[in-house]
């Protein structure tokens, strides 16, 4: 099969790998999906539409993502839980100089260790992706949640 140069195909593959990494609890690999200076931020539609800058998580670079994983593994206390990401078909919203901007909807089902299972969040990824290198990486990932409400806590990243 010839290599897929279609950006929709590449971004879809990247998002599938990304979701697999989180959902299978391989968080140590999670920062590798980002460039060194990448911004990762979780916000809400309400804040996003009004330009309100505060994030639920706001990482200014990959080091902060590594710190987040280290804290989850060593410092923070939360009940064992897993996510299942379901990601929509990707829309390419912009393209220039080796970077593409892409948008995809997602839902995450959260399953606790005792079997409690609920729709945890829905939202969209507003991504900027560098396609110029050996493999695609995020230069920015903005996670915009549809709802303002977070049930109990948000430990594992989205």
């Amino acid at each position: 099969m010839p290599p897929d140069n279609n950006p929709i195909g590449i971004v879809s593959g990247l998002l599938a790998d990304y979701a697999h990494c989180i959902d299978s609890d391989e968080l140590e690999r999670w920062p590798d999906f980002f460039t060194e200076q990448a911004r990762y931020r979780i916000t809400t539609t309400f804040n996003h539409e009004r330009g309100l800058p505060v994030g639920i998580i706001d990482a200014k670079n990959r080091n902060m993502l590594e710190d987040r994983v280290a804290a989850l593994r060593k410092a923070n206390i939360y009940e064992p839980q897993r996510y299942r990401h379901i990601i929509s078909v990707v829309r390419i919203t912009g393209e220039s100089g080796g970077l593409v901007q892409a948008e995809a909807g997602f839902i995450v089902v959260r399953t606790m260790i005792d079997g409690r299972q609920e729709l945890f969040v829905s939202g969209r990824y507003l991504d900027s992706i560098d396609l110029s290198g050996q493999r695609a990486v995020f230069t920015e990932k903005l996670v915009v949640l549809d709802s303002d409400k977070i049930d109990t806590l948000l430990a594992i990243p989205l």
């Binding site: 979780i42 916000t43 809400t44 309400f46 804040n47 309100l52 800058p53 505060v54 994030g55 639920i56 998580i57 706001d58 990482a59 200014k60 670079n61 080091n63 902060m64 590594e66 710190d67 280290a70 804290a71 060593k74 410092a75 923070n76 206390i77 939360y78 009940e79 303002d148 409400k149 977070i150 049930d151 109990t152 806590l153 948000l154 430990a155």
Partner: protein, 423 residues
């Protein structure tokens, strides 16, 4: 215990039996029934939230222009906060006087009048009924009877008081003036983190699967801070051995817990002895997270302030947040986090605020556990009939203390609670 039946589910105990819920007149034994009893929840709605208390409704800057409104809650009762044409803030119950439908559905907006979608009854900014659709009927038929007077059907008023840009409301006309209710120490500490008009930086809401009072206690509990939140201990953001203290208001209900970094006094021996140290090898790859600015020029790096019953005002370094507790039934509560800064924040200070927002909220390094720990208590309630929790750290009263190895402000909460609830 005479006649009391603590632990019975909803509706099985009359109000008259409530005095027996508490084992004694003290503050150190809190009956678990207060967290899951429907009768107590109903009594809280009546005696606390509609009683002589001041409840946070929001910030003045959320409704800056005439006609601006915000929907919110006083306890679990929906209310609207609006700025009238004359610039004066008003609040009233968000419930049409006709059939009782929610009047206002948007979170924020601007309007000349509030019109109910159901039958188009409309109200002005003072909550007065100004229009009733078909009041005189159609072509002489139908319409309201002669005894109907619009002035008898206004919206139920909420009394308003503003302090340092914070808007408080009370359903009780006879509530004491806000500053008397708070006392001078609390007033001063509110002004400390709101020295000039704030600017909103964003919102989020955390849904807690536990009774609202478990969160109210949690924020008044400095004992747990460096034990449950290991991020604190690991990075020395806060340690009980730091300089600081607890102020409890005279009525017990409000408190301030504060601390200041003082490297000279850092002594880890108590932590090592209690084996409370997290992995000491653990370092941050991005240490800028721990940067901060002494923006209030007093060295205090952490201040958690509560106002009975539903406000928490938080400074963690340069992260400033107004938290409103909204009960959602006996076993659930929302915490609405409103993050703020100031108009004159320079870029560096704004960066610090946004960076440090990683500490707080539902994903916060030093607060995410608070979202879960109340639920751990809630889930263990079934076996607690007649049992009480133990609140004895730091003594038996609710006085201000220099040590933060204390539960004095939790006892203060119950002092104010028992007084108002008359139980």
């Amino acid at each position: 215990m005479a006649g009391g039946q603590p632990g019975l589910p909803c509706g099985e105990r009359g109000m008259t039996d409530m005095k027996d819920i508490w084992l004694d007149d003290g503050l150190t034994q809190v009956p678990f029934a207060v967290y899951d009893d429907q009768d107590i929840y109903a009594r809280e709605r009546e005696r606390l939230f509609q009683g002589p208390t001041w409840n946070i409704l929001g910030l003045e800057c959320e409704v800056p222009e005439p006609g601006d409104y915000k929907t919110t809650y006083l306890g679990d009762i929906p209310v609207v906060l609006v700025r009238g044409k004359d610039g004066v803030l008003k609040a009233f119950e968000n419930r049409c006087a006709h059939r009782g439908a929610l009047l206002c559905l948007e979170r924020f907006g601007n309007t000349k009048a509030f019109t109910c979608v159901y039958h188009a009854w409309s109200y002005n900014h003072d909550g007065e009924l100004i229009g009733v659709a078909f009041q005189n009927g159609i072509q002489g038929e139908g319409g309201m009877g002669e005894g109907f007077r619009r002035e008898d059907h206004g919206l139920r008023q909420v009394k308003i008081a503003v302090l340092a840009g914070l808007v408080f409301g009370s359903f009780d006309e006879a509530v004491q003036p806000l500053e008397d209710y708070l006392g001078p120490d609390i007033v001063a500490r509110i002004h400390r983190v709101l020295p000039r008009p704030p600017k909103i930086l964003g919102y989020f809401t955390q849904t807690l699967r536990n009774n609202w009072k478990l969160y109210a206690e949690n924020v008044r509990d400095p004992y747990h801070a460096s034990i449950l939140h290991l991020f604190f201990t690991t990075f020395r953001v806060n340690r009980l051995s730091q300089k600081g203290g607890i102020i409890v208001s005279e009525n017990g209900g409000h408190h301030v817990s504060y601390s200041m970094l003082d490297p000279g006094t850092a002594d880890d021996s108590d932590y090592d002895a209690a084996k409370l140290r997290a992995d000491s090898e653990f370092g941050l790859k991005e240490p800028r997270l721990l940067d901060g600015r002494d923006e209030f020029n007093d060295g205090i790096t952490l201040q958690i302030l509560s106002v009975f019953p539903n406000l928490v005002l938080q400074q963690v370094r340069n992260s400033l947040v107004v938290r409103q507790i909204v009960p959602q039934g006996v076993d659930q509560a929302d915490v609405v986090w409103t993050t703020y800064g100031f108009d004159d924040d320079d870029e560096e200070l704004m960066d610090l605020r946004l960076m440090q927002s990683n500490f707080v909220g539902p994903a916060g390094y030093i607060s995410m556990e608070d979202g879960a720990v109340g639920n751990f208590i809630q889930r263990a309630l079934p076996g607690t009939k007649g049992e009480t929790s133990v609140v004895m750290m730091g003594g038996e009263d609710a006085a201000s203390m220099a040590s933060r190895a204390t539960e004095t402000s939790i006892r203060g909460f119950w002092k104010a609670y028992r007084n108002l609830m008359a139980i």
